[in-house]
Subunit: 551 residues, 2 copies
């Protein structure tokens, strides 16, 4: 207990004004007897209190870490348990590895009987991989578990602790031992796997995002590549084409495509502020623009024997070389028409902004699917497969789908929902920063930001308001140089700036909304697009700034 409490109090003293009460509440939880007592109502109330206290503490911590830019993950350490707990050995646990004998697992020093939870696991039956043993390595792999909320769910199933000898015996190999260097300025949303975004105040300072500042969205550890022996596999029906990176460069015509890539979770922070969602807490910077050089996927597939009139193939699947603990790799797929259309501009890239693709962004090969969600721009590409169905990967079938605001985890039908592919119109204000104090120049301030839409739809207008949306000023759009690459489509974002009239001496709500070339617009509020996974937060972007009185 003391460990957690110390950590919490160190990070933000204001949320921990009453450590004694907090200790009392928490330690009462360490008695299994009390936890499982008939006083269910009391336990429930206590859990709520605990959740509130823990949430408060976590908010404080996150704030602190954001300021310090050094994430503290000690809150993921479970509380040390009281001595009265039943003690189990690894052998005891191993005997409970199926539904008949019950599903037991260990995490850190504790033992859990999760039989009653298996059915509700959002990741499905994958949970059974951990049955009868430690789940620590899986949690290292699947960062989504590393939240206080998930830890709390797990705690409900605690039945005792693991013997000290077995605690030591469990060798927790860290698959993340070989990650590349990253700039400390990145705002880290998850350390393992690494997920981070650049600061909003620099994001729109250049049309092309520097590689080092490009947001990183890794689902698994960054793989190592033995380039000498690496060949990209292309499977079309019974035929297989194997190509080294050099062969790819020599055999096909090189093209450069400038495209904005955006994570489906960009701006999730705002959606989770509206109502809790499951997923990494991205700000507005899980987006960036780069010039990718490579060869057309279409050229490679035609070379591999792909017949455009062959209706067997409806999807092109991609597999990365980043692997999970079961050695299955990250994967995704796109519809055939996008992959094979000359207009689609899908390439297999080997350069990002003129240099070899950095390890965090897919070295040596990455699929670039302009106008589509980041998740299909598969990194560390090692296999392309023409198929009659979508990728069977978890991230294609059971993730990156959006449900209605009234859909819950219980009612979500992943089979029926459509994978996110083409992206909707979005925009955001980069400066001034939310909550900042600004000086106006005769009642006028400059506002800057970005706007983007998927599917090659250009941004045709950005409206900016300084009165929360009552009146609007049209922003100036900054676009890519004409003819900067080999595409005639608008795959890249528009940057924008506008001078808007503000009211000094008070808070002003600055709002932006973009319109794309199909005259699609952004929704006004988050409520009607809220979804349990927090995807596609493209409501108007709103910030509040204090405008100082003119002297």
């Amino acid at each position: 207990m003391s460990l957690v409490l110390t950590s919490l109090c160190r990070t933000e003293s204001t949320v921990c004004r009453h450590p004694t009460a907090f200790t009392r509440a928490f330690s009462s939880n360490t008695s299994k007897k009390r936890f499982r007592s008939s006083s269910h109502q009391e336990t429930k109330q206590f859990r709520w209190k605990l959740a509130a206290a823990a949430s408060g503490a976590v908010v404080g911590m996150v704030t602190y870490n954001y300021i310090q830019n050094k994430p503290d993950l000690t809150f993921l350490r479970k509380p040390v348990q009281a001595k009265s707990d039943p003690v189990y050995s690894s052998a005891d646990v191993a005997q409970h590895a199926d539904k008949q004998s019950g599903i037991w697992v260990t995490y850190q020093d504790s033992v859990y009987d999760i039989t009653g939870f298996v059915e509700s696991h959002p990741g499905g039956e994958k949970i059974l991989m951990g049955a009868g043993g430690p789940i620590d390595a899986f949690w290292n792999m699947y960062a989504v578990h590393k939240t206080p909320e998930v830890l709390q769910i797990l705690e409900q199933y605690r039945i005792g602790k693991l013997s000290r000898r077995d605690q030591k015996a469990i060798n927790l190999n860290d698959p993340f031992a070989n990650e590349p260097f990253r700039l400390p300025v990145l705002r880290i949303n998850s350390q393992k796997p690494f997920n981070a975004e650049p600061p909003l105040e620099v994001l729109t300072d250049s049309f092309i995002t520097p590689n080092e500042l490009f947001y990183v969205r890794n689902h698994l550890p960054v793989p190592d590549f033995d380039l000498e022996n690496f060949k990209l596999e292309v499977l079309v029906g019974g035929r297989k084409l194997a190509l080294s990176v050099d062969e790819i460069k020599k055999k096909y015509k090189p093209v450069t495509i400038t495209t904005t890539i955006q994570c489906a979770g960009n701006r999730r922070q705002e959606m989770s502020q509206y109502q809790n969602v499951k997923g990494l807490t991205w700000g507005a910077c899980a987006i960036g623009t780069a010039r990718w050089t490579g060869v057309r996927l279409r050229d490679i597939l035609l070379d591999a024997g792909f017949d455009l009139n062959d209706n067997r193939f409806k999807h092109i699947q991609f597999n990365g070389n980043d692997k999970d603990i079961t050695k299955s790799s990250y994967g995704g797929s796109i519809p055939k028409h996008k992959a094979m259309s000359i207009d689609g501009d899908v390439i297999i890239a080997y350069k990002m902004n003129g240099v070899d693709i950095p390890r965090d962004h897919g070295y040596p090969l990455r699929v670039i699917v302009p106008g589509y969600v980041g998740a299909r721009n598969v990194k560390w590409l090692h296999q392309v497969v023409a198929s009659d169905e979508e990728s069977s990967s978890h991230w294609q079938r059971n993730d990156y789908k959006v449900f209605s605001p009234s859909t819950t985890f219980e009612t979500a039908d992943y089979k029926k929902a459509q994978s996110i592919q083409e992206m909707p119109v979005i925009s955001a204000i980069s400066t001034p920063a939310e909550g900042s104090k600004v000086e106006s120049d005769d009642g006028v301030i400059e506002v800057k930001g970005y706007a983007w839409s998927g599917g090659g739809r250009d941004i045709i207008r950005v409206d900016v308001s300084a009165d929360g949306g009552k009146t609007w000023k049209e922003a100036n759009l900054v676009k890519d140089k004409p003819g900067a690459d080999d595409s005639t489509h608008s795959w890249a974002w528009s940057l924008w700036n506008a001078e808007v009239e503000v009211t000094p001496g008070k808070k002003n709500e600055i709002v932006c909304k973009a319109i794309d070339s199909a005259y699609n617009c952004q929704p006004e509020f988050i409520g009607p697009i809220w979804n349990l996974r927090g995807f596609l937060t493209n409501a108007w972007h709103r910030i509040s700034v204090e405008v100082e009185d003119d002297e």
Copy 2:
């Protein structure tokens, strides 16, 4: 005066409770001296009163006409003027035909000096075509003038009346003498040119809209065709290809494309209810779906010598055979990439739902531009031109563009704004009808409607709410038969139905919103998309129904 008043009172007695006061107010206007007196303030006040009275009368009339389905256009007749007016001859008027001597025109029996108005004419310099003569024929041609508001503007410039002899001498040829037969069930928004839509309650009864019930959006009179001598002209650089309809049918591969066509003004009625806009008052039925048979525009252009790598050409222009009073025709254009892409599915059609295209829909040839605004699906096609610029037609350059809600007619920059081409996502409820009383089945009612998006983006979800948008039910989608035509894209609408829980004994606000395959969604409210021309009203569709108590 009596004529107008009689007409107003006949149509809706409730709006004319005080004919005497109304007569007094109106007749005071007939004295030119009074009208131009120094008592400017009084005149202004009187004009407002008049506008209010006239607006009320018109609302009543429109309501009445809607019910009767027989539009009464007598309000367009100007009031008969008092005898004291100065009298001018046609020769007098003809001497004022340029800015130096002033711009005079006549309308019906009156003479106007519109020199001060020419600059503010929304249609630009086209107004000068009427200088020095009668504008009646132009107003017959451009229905947009035929509103009480425009008539009021004109009245401000009245300087006298036209001699009786010259009134008779002006021969007002009716270019609309040879219009085709139309079903009386259509709801007419403008008689000349003819603009009408089917009733909402039948619109979604079939996936394919019957030709006779397909909305008609004519900008000019329906032209006659001498099919024997007709040749479609295709101009590519210096080359010209001329093709008869038979040659088109024989020379190129026929294809059938099923597409939804929608007018940019669909649902304008709702936008004008929010705040007044300029344009025809369409309900939610300026949309329909048909199977069009023809040949690919791409095939014809390639045959005419179009070189895909020739960057001179950026737009493909279309000219119809429907002509205005100056013999210039309706026109529009689309970007080259849409016209030439195999994926674009642009065809020159000669059949609509299996029969020769009806006269109202473009006989004998019509461009079909799937996923684009109706206005570019040019009817009565007689010319295709490859060009470096957009069509110079009024409807391409100075119409069918959308501005921000804060843009006025004074600040609208038509050169900067982008032409509407690809359409945004939209949906509407077809049953139950707005304001109707419905019986629920154990607290449940069935709701039906349509949903569509441009650009070939499929509808992936329609959410329906019976509590104004607090909770949502996912609708069942009804789509076209797979393989029903020669396209692999989703150019046609989805029909939908849903059973929603309602609260009997009170009014329920039923709402729908659709999401397309790029996860674009509809805006919640009209305010933020309001635009002076009332285009693209794609906010959530809302109706209010009285649910009767269960017995």
